[in-house]
């Protein structure tokens, strides 16, 4: 048994300092025994000769400089994995909380993961049909992609994520193995419960692994939760050869936790008090999505983050946008008009879309339709701005057509039912139907051949 250290030399927020430590290493996990009974876990975050700075996951409540015994475990943060984790629920640091006992397994993985070698990656190209027009048509989700939902408080991001889970998992009916890893960081009990119920109702709950760190759980645990979840996801994907969809909510809580710990460490803050390594930390989460060459299985991520004050330039959405392969942005004014899902398509983007659509994947006209819809909808904004100044009646006939187009685009193309599952064909045809409201010469983003094949003016159709 390793040495037990008595007492601590400093306690500051979630951090404690232990002196006289021998043979400790960076990132090692330590076990605390408080008052002889209560057990806590911690992680060494910095070392200066025999002095270790340790982050306590469960918080430092009840700890004093004298009542704590500390033991080094000799290994970095690890989690036990086996295919049996499917259908189970864990807390934020990977301990079972569903009363079904521990995971008996010899397979233990370091939760920090390792960077995937770009040479070993396979470029993602397989389209995932979510049945949601705004996503399938305009910001296509690709297997192995990381596509976050940028949302705000009070917007239906959870419903949207749940709908993606339901429809994407039941979509093609193929025999590929599919599972969901759900990581909750600092979310409300209701939200976690909503997801649990959704998984149950869609019959997927035995294919779901849940890692829950709720709003009242210790803050430091939140820094670990997504890493544990992604370690589980990587294991299931690349060792059990399943296709994994990882839902992580809410990244904002994760970043806030990082800020809290950073400030108690006395680090120099960069933007809005967040530490300078926020980008690197977020990247180590998001970059764990992907596909490996020659290995069946994939990790697709849908992180959810609530933009503080709906501000997309806030460091958290901003840095996320620079790492992820696109984003789906929810909009409060669309939500106000009772349009579901309230996806604002203009700032939304899927970077991997271009290579996963078109002939052989979806349909030859997909890219052109998407470009044209974006371009036309951007003009709707100009027409609306003008209308608000000079009044709708004074608009030129073409601007009036754009206004009508915008109206139908928002209500019929973007808007759809929470259980409405559209095929990609339906989505693209609907796109052409809407484009038919505009004169042919306005459609400048479409290749002439495609335009001749698919374009039908709205009037002609009525006849």
């Amino acid at each position: 048994m390793s040495i037990e250290y008595l007492g601590l030399s400093e306690i500051n927020g979630p951090l404690v300092v232990l002196e006289g430590v021998r043979n400790a290493f960076s990132e090692e996990i330590v076990e605390f025994t408080v008052n002889g009974s209560e057990k806590k876990l911690g992680r060494i975050i910095a070392l200066y000769e025999d002095k270790a700075i340790i982050q306590v996951f469960e918080g430092t409540d009840n700890m004093s400089l004298v009542n704590t015994h500390t033991q080094l475990t000799g290994h970095p943060m690890e989690v036990a994995l086996s295919p049996d984790i499917l259908g189970r629920t864990f807390n934020g640091i990977g301990q079972p909380i569903d009363g079904l006992g521990n995971i008996p397994s010899d397979i233990r993985r370091n939760i920090n993961g390792l960077p995937l070698n770009p040479v070993a990656r396979e470029y993602p190209r397989n389209f995932i049909q979510t049945g949601i027009s705004a996503i399938d048509g305009l910001t296509t989700l690709i297997r192995g992609q990381k596509l976050p939902i940028f949302s705000g408080d009070g917007l239906p991001h959870n419903q949207l994520a749940a709908q993606i889970v339901r429809q994407a998992s039941l979509g093609d009916g193929s025999n590929e193995k599919f599972a969901i890893v759900f990581a909750a960081m600092g979310v409300k009990y209701d939200v976690a419960e909503y997801f649990r119920r959704t998984f149950e109702e869609s019959g997927a709950s035995d294919h779901v692994v849940m890692f829950l760190n709720l709003a009242n759980d210790p803050v430091v645990e939140r820094l670990i939760t997504p890493k544990v979840a992604l370690t589980a996801a990587e294991y299931l994907a690349f060792e059990c050869h399943m296709h994994i969809l990882v839902i992580m909510t809410d990244i904002t809580s994760f970043a806030e936790a990082m800020r809290e710990v950073s400030s108690s460490k006395g680090e120099i803050p960069s933007r809005k008090g967040y530490p300078g390594y926020l980008y690197s930390e977020l990247a180590t989460l998001y970059e764990r999505a992907g596909i490996v060459q020659g290995v069946e299985g994939s990790v697709t991520q849908i992180p959810i983050l609530t933009m503080p004050n709906d501000d997309i330039t806030h460091p958290i959405p901003d840095l996320t946008g620079y790492i992820t392969e696109g984003q789906i942005v929810l909009d409060r004014s669309l939500n106000g008009q009772a349009i579901y899902p309230p996806i604002n398509v203009l700032p939304s983007l899927s970077r991997l879309m271009k290579d996963g659509i078109g002939e052989g994947y979806t349909r030859e006209d997909h890219q052109d339709v998407a470009n044209q819809l974006f371009s036309c909808y951007a003009k709707v904004g100009d027409a609306r701005a003008l209308a608000s100044v000079i009044g709708e009646d004074e608009l030129s006939p073409i601007d009036k057509k754009y206004l009508k187009f915008g109206e139908r685009f928002e209500h019929e193309f973007v808007g759809q039912g929470q259980s409405e599952n559209r095929t990609i064909q339906q989505t693209l045809n609907l796109g052409w139907e809407l484009l038919g409201m505009l004169p042919k010469e306005e459609l400048d983003r479409v290749d002439t051949k495609i335009l001749d094949k698919y374009y039908q003016p709205a009037e002609e159709k009525k006849e």
């Binding site: 400790a24 290493f25 960076s26 990132e27 090692e28 910095a46 070392l47 200066y48 000769e49 970095p76 370091n110 920090n112 993961g113 390792l114 960077p115 995937l116 070698n117 770009p118 040479v119 070993a120 990656r121 470029y123 992609q145 120099i268 803050p269 960069s270 933007r271 300078g276 390594y277 690197s280 990247a283 998001y286 970059e287 764990r288 992907g290 060459q293 330039t313 901003d318 946008g321 620079y322 790492i323 392969e325 203009l346 700032p347 991997l352 271009k354 290579d355 890219q367 998407a370 371009s375 951007a378 100009d382 003008l386 100044v389 000079i390 004074e394 608009l395 030129s396 400048d444 002439t448």
Partner: protein
């Protein structure tokens, strides 16, 4: 033997050693029992500070750090092209072969293949006086590029002996050099050079030829010279990476060094895959044959990210010394600046603006100044052009990295969110962008494209500027009330924006457009403008002009005229003349 030190403290990638170790600044060190690669960044009497290029998890105080005696250097020799490296020139495919799909720590691999035998033609003779930079051997590195091995810049003297032409590895001696002091040095195909020191050149030339990229908005409106510097700033999703990919694919440089600095892993995979399939239109060989990739993705260690930029530019200078035109794509310099900030924070340095260290500006300028069109030590001419993406936080160009970069580059291609939202790509905004090279390059355009080129280009920009001021009015009162001549300006500006500036990277004809076609497109648009203006001046209303599909026809020239059928432009000019006659005939 090698100097050593003992680890005292560890804070993320920063490692402290106790006492005066005798290490040198910027010296490369091996840290701990796993022999992680690191660099000395600060020295004082009591502590030595080291930044570690690999993940430090598991490192413990008391472990030994070993000095190598060399500054952090790269190996320069055949085998660089058609390869992908991490930030400190370790080949990723070798790492994958050794440690599987993940990049593990302390992997020891050679930068370049030391077993491969290169077909070598020796170009020096015994008795010949050589100086730094003299080409000693030629090796066909790829089907597109002949590699020229040189005498390292700091050596000169007399060649004592050479080997016969034949097949040699990069570690076998090719020639023996006797320096003035009598010491003899074996010259090999490969040499080492420290990444933070620019390779010397004889002198700089002023900009004289553009780096032709096949992208209309760049080549025609805001050209970059060979040996020039450009910045592409833009918020996320505005197309920085796409623009860099397009330039890397189609630019008329001999060599492309693509640095993925703190960016997405999938993007590097995509470049690797795509460039391994696409053919260079000029040489007919694969694009990868002229490309070297440096991938330090965002989740790879931050200190190596900081080094990756220097590694890239050193490789570029090496090929410049052989007489090649090299273009560097650095995507993105903001991630590099953030790496500086992160390390600076760990060192507890006093931050300047937004937490960035005060030396940000000097580091940026030192980097961009390594670009240039040079006369090399061996008399050849070569150039290094640097095109750096900048990722400003929140897309706000007033942040320190964009502002400081702007001071040191001469070409600024500002990406615009509004254009990107409307999927107008490339989303380079014509009002915020500029190129200071235009004046330098005017003679080139005159001699190589057309004497009218610069004039036409200026007319195009003038129309776009007029449009922008007219749009201010339109936003307030609508376009219907404008007089017809102004309506015409709006219409022509639309033709320019959609038909000329917008370019479809996925369209086989439109993805890369030769200079000649760019010029003819410009001429056709301006011809249409002149003819329409005459009609309007004669009192023909715009509504009548717009009945003719000629405006749409000219807009879709980019798709309808193939790049190798430029004679079709005559038909367009005839069609414009016919349109002019028709309108007059109908409404006389």
């Amino acid at each position: 033997m090698a100097k050593t030190g003992v680890i005292y403290g560890i804070n993320g990638p920063v490692i402290y050693l106790k006492g005066n170790t005798g290490f040198e600044m910027s010296e490369m060190v091996y840290v701990g029992k796993d022999k992680l690669v690191g660099e000395v960044i600060r020295l004082n009497k009591d502590t030595t500070t080291i930044q570690c290029f690999e993940e430090t998890t598991g490192l413990a105080p008391g472990e030994i750090v070993e000095a190598t005696g060399d500054a952090v250097s790269v190996v320069l020799g055949p085998g660089i092209l058609h390869n992908i490296f991490d930030g400190i020139e370790r080949p990723l495919s070798e790492i994958a072969a050794k440690s599987g799909k993940y990049i593990t720590r302390g992997v020891s691999v050679d930068s370049l293949d030391t077993h491969k035998k290169w077909k070598t033609h020796v170009t020096v003779k015994p008795g010949q006086q050589v100086t730094g930079g003299t080409i000693i051997a030629e090796v066909p590195e790829t089907s597109a590029i002949t590699h020229r091995s040189m005498v390292p810049p700091n050596l000169s003297g007399e060649i004592v002996s050479v080997v016969a032409d034949g097949e040699y590895t990069i570690t076998e001696p090719i020639a023996v050099l006797r320096q003035a002091d009598g010491t003899e040095t074996e010259l090999k195909l490969a040499q080492k050079w420290p990444i933070r020191i620019p390779r010397p050149a004889e002198k700089r030339f002023p900009a004289s030829a553009p780096l032709v990229t096949g992208q209309r908005i760049l080549d025609t409106l805001f050209p970059i010279a060979k040996g020039g510097t450009a910045a592409i700033p833009g918020g996320f999703g505005t197309g920085k990476t796409m623009t860099q990919h397009q330039i890397a694919k189609w630019a008329d440089a001999d060599i492309i060094i693509y640095i993925g600095c703190g960016e997405r892993g999938n993007e590097m995979t995509q470049v690797l895959e795509e460039f391994g399939q696409l053919k260079d239109p000029r040489t007919g060989s694969l694009l990868m044959e002229r490309t070297a990739l440096i991938a330090n993705t965002s989740n790879m260690p931050v200190a190596a990210r900081e080094a990756s930029i220097y590694t890239g530019v050193t490789l570029a200078e090496y090929y410049r010394d052989m007489g090649y035109d090299v273009a560097i794509m650095a995507d993105s310099t903001s991630r590099w600046a953030e790496a500086l900030r992160e390390l600076s924070g760990r060192l507890e340095e006093m931050p300047a603006e937004e937490g960035f260290p005060a030396y940000l500006a000097s580091r940026l300028s030192a980097f961009y100044e390594r670009a240039g069109h040079m006369q090399n030590l061996n008399g050849t001419e070569g150039s290094v052009s640097i095109i750096g993406a900048v990722s400003p936080q929140g897309g706000d160009f007033s942040e320190p990295v964009t502002q400081n970069t702007k001071r040191f580059v001469r070409c600024f291609w500002g990406l615009d969110k509004g254009l990107a939202y409307a999927r107008h790509y490339p989303a380079i905004h014509w009002l915020t962008s500029y190129s200071e090279y235009l004046g330098d390059l005017a003679p080139w355009y005159k001699n190589n494209v057309s004497p009218k080129f610069v004039d036409d280009r200026n007319q195009l920009v003038a129309i776009l500027n007029t449009e922008s001021s007219l749009m201010e009015i339109v936003k307030l009162i609508g376009s219907d009330v404008l007089p017809d001549d102004q309506k015409l300006v709006l219409q022509i500006a639309k033709v320019i924006r959609v038909g000329f500036l917008q370019q479809n990277a996925f369209h086989p004809e439109d993805t890369c457009v030769p200079m000649k076609k760019q010029f003819l497109m410009m001429e056709t648009i301006l011809h249409l403008y002149r003819k329409s203006r005459e009609l309007v001046a004669m009192g023909q209303p715009m509504s009548v002009l717009l009945e003719d599909p000629i405006f749409d026809k000219v807009t879709s020239i980019k798709y309808d005229v193939p790049n190798d059928h430029l004679e079709m432009f005559d038909d367009y000019n005839k069609a414009i003349d016919k349109f002019y006659d028709d309108v007059l005939a109908r409404n006389a």
